[in-house]
Symmetry: D3
Subunit: 140 residues, 6 copies
């Protein structure tokens, strides 16, 4: 019954955004000590790469875990439309108070898409801030 095979399928998309790391209760010096250049007030930006992994049994007819056009539609409406070309601290309500670290944005993306999938499960969100730093979240 090879049709019962469980496969993990990952889609990668890119978006760009800006952010800053500032805890308003702290002074500029304390913020710099904690966050370095990320604490500059006017923000800075990144080309983020996002890998979303879903887990499921392949459909015996189509050979697919999920139809990619469906997954792409979800990622466009839940991630790209919300985060792409935005200043995350200012344009995304969830981050008005919360620091938009790679960790926190990964969790935010998980929460945004976990309820939208049918016929397969969200397995992992992996977010690269740049090629040298990434966070992974499994909903734990």
């Amino acid at each position: 019954m090879e049709e019962r095979n469980i496969v993990y399928l990952t889609r990668k998309i890119d978006f760009c955004a800006s952010h800053r790391y500032i805890i308003e209760e702290l002074s500029q010096e304390e913020n710099f000590r904690l966050f370095g250049k990320c604490s500059y007030r006017h923000g800075h930006g990144h080309n983020y790469s996002l890998e979303v992994t879903v887990k499921g049994v392949t459909d015996p007819k189509t050979g697919m875990v999920i139809n990619l056009s469906e997954l792409d539609r979800i990622l466009r409406s839940k991630v790209v439309d919300v985060l792409d070309h935005k200043f995350i601290n200012v344009d995304v309500p969830c981050f008005e108070k919360k620091i938009p670290t790679t960790e926190n944005i990964a969790i935010f993306i998980w929460d945004s898409i976990v309820g939208t999938l049918h016929g397969c499960q969200l397995h992992r969100v992996r977010l690269f801030e740049d090629p040298y730093l990434f966070a992974e979240y499994y909903g734990e």
Copy 2:
């Protein structure tokens, strides 16, 4: 007894091939609705990247989980010779009826090599169709 350490070793190889997604029972319009451009009859192609991960205890003398020349020999005969520069739907019997999605090719590669390894276990097959889509299969 550090020699008892379990390490996961991954070899990446590239191959190129063409494929198409067509369910013969469906009309051209239905296939296009299901598979988009992948349903074009004459096929299209990709540079696939394959990562094969084996798991094992390092040999205390050689420091290796598997001799790479052995792993390379297996991947050449079981993967490259079978899939490289081929039209998968036509040239690979297993895909005469089955849709050669990334998911199904990953499973096919797992099945082709899982019985050939000695002294270590096949852990994962990860197949990239392009840098923005990959499937992983663990034999589950």
Copy 3:
């Protein structure tokens, strides 16, 4: 007069397609001797990467050599719509008789877009068949 600055702007896009190298007048053996695995009759494929470079003076108001949305529109209609997800030998009339080498496809792309640009010049077409092979054409 910094507004007179000449800048070279390059847009990269990806497409995937399949092809084969066969000279019909030659035997299968002769074709294999000449083209190796590329001579397999059913074709094989690649993820092509295309870099199109235009040269021009930056607009003093917009700071642009060309509006990217205009360049993207041209590349979509002249390149993606024509080559993406196609079997080049069969689906693109120009290659019915001509071998679709990286060299020849680069020339074909140059010829397809050179007349469509306004306010800047086409400078170079660079086409990657894979990360290890690319051809560049300057219209010479």
Copy 4:
């Protein structure tokens, strides 16, 4: 006299910054028509990659066109300290009125470093906004 050889040496560095494309004289709609999502008021960001190419004769003793530690020092003080983790429109005076397109930032970097090199010439500044868009400037 092989020591008279002319070599082009390129150093790549990365920095991240945010920017926006807005012509203040135009309405929000006109800006959006011209610049798309880049016209969002709060800005967005990128991981920029910069390749600076110098041209010169290799020193017969050291085999170098320029001592890399010298080139790195220049790039750090003239590029990284000025642009990294900044909101270019706000933090870099030159871009108070000028649109920080990839083209204009490349010219700005050329102008910032061209006078600092000794014993070799600045040949080219190549700036990637992301892997799919780059501008090159040769001081023409």
Copy 5:
């Protein structure tokens, strides 16, 4: 209680080093049969890429699993200072007798940093010898 979220954070760093694979008890021919070109006596080298993954709960105030400047400090003192620009067989005591395979270097790096982390756990060391070979170690 979103602050209880467990995130895996990965930092990638590069270093370059040389090594050779020789078992002194074996003849040159036997070493070549076992290790191929890696057995050349004077050694050869690589640009290694190292990905260190830590696992932990994000700090509700900073949104971080670990402060990156702390992780970078550890990687610099425990990995870069020890391995970068070194001939591993000669310059690193641990490898005087042990073959510096990718597997063994990954284990060595795990052992070097596992005791230095506070507030989060070391989850995985992934070491690339080149883009086509990597070893992963989880301390098992």
Copy 6:
């Protein structure tokens, strides 16, 4: 006469090697001041990437500037067999006295292959020591 088109074709290959930068007449301190960590006596290594560009008219029958199998044969015998898995200062006679900088190795590769090409010209040798440093040589 489209067959008269001039195309630049580039082949990329990888090899790994080790080297060190030491001028024997200088003290260890002076060498360190000049070359930094590259002056460590036992050497270190890199995964080099080499791009060799040839220029020529495409053959009207094959659509090729040069048959890739011929170019690959040349690169294997003149570059890979000579430099791959070697300690350049010790194993390559040309570098017994000469510092094996990226610049000098690029010139060495040019000189090794320039006389071997038939029907097309060597245009450029581009050598990456790592993704952040490369030298280009045009035989000037």
